[in-house]
Amino acid sequence: MVKIKTADELNKKFLREGMWPTIFCNGCGHGVVLEYTFWALEELGLDMDKVIFSSGIGCSSRLPGYINADGLHTTHGRAIAFATGIKAADPDFNVIVFTGDGDCAGIGGNHFIHAARRNIDMTVIMINNFIYGMTGGQLAPTAPLGSIATTAPYGNIEHPFDICNLACALGANYVARWGVSHPYQPIKSIKEGIQKKGFSLLEFLAPCPTAYGRRNKLGDIKKHWEWYDNNTILKEDLEKIMKYGSEQEKEQVKDKIPLGVFQDIQKPGFFEAYEQLVDRLKEKESKSIGGK
């Protein structure tokens, strides 16, 4: 029989208790993502001295402050750039980046693109709440069409940014998107993402009742959490319905957000390739010296 750990033991191990309780609003999904990360780290049994957290600016970027491990709270959008630096300095570290949708897709978009392209060994946990919550509810690039924000008072007319599709196109090793209301799939995904060599992106759809929900008639916490249940669908189900379903069914699922693991491949990461390059050049040099 497996000894089941309780949340209390977990909190003692991972939580920086002086910082608790969080500043997050009532009904926010960020705390849930933090807890899933704790469970995943607990399951993996990593040495917490060898794990570094990095974050930018925003609600999601306060998360490393609550974890009893080393963390960087960096400038807006540059969390991934700093994480690349950590990984380059010492590739033994496990780097986990907490970032928000504005931080990762909006302001730090280019850093994200190039880290994914180089396939740098890190785990990016992007918490997507469709809005810049901490700075007052400006429109984020991931907000669905028609959603209302302080900078879009008559509804959003820009098409939303699908960050998972982008990461898949760039060839990231592990790409997954989950909601926060189902615990086991995200915990498994975080585990796989940390274990994976190469870039792994985990997107979480987290409710934000204060900044997003209040303006979009979802201010009630229960209603807002149910919105995520009603407007998401498993990727496999979506594919089946799109292939074999009737017109009516297709119409129903057309606008839903797919959840699931989108990409799971094993491509050599940047630092593996770099080590191979160094070895190759050393070998070449020793041969040329030997030839003289």
Binding site: A7, G27, I221
Partner: protein
Amino acid sequence: MVCLMIEVREDWCKGCNICIDRCPVDALEESDILNRRGVRPPKLKEKNDCNFCRLCELICPDLAITVFPDEKEKKPVKKTLLTPVGGKIK
């Protein structure tokens, strides 16, 4: 005795009631006491079907709930063997 199965850190609870909404067997309710923030933390109902699925523990955004499976009281566990390993049992 019933209340020993679930422990809530009352000063951490923000009163979002997600645990009450999400409980699959509807075993939780608001308690009578107010905490420091002026909200009512959850507690187990007097008569409940709690099967230790630990969803409230896993889903609480403030990490305030802890579930202690009571080994003496043998209740049939519905649905799943819930060890938090992401669907797999070691």
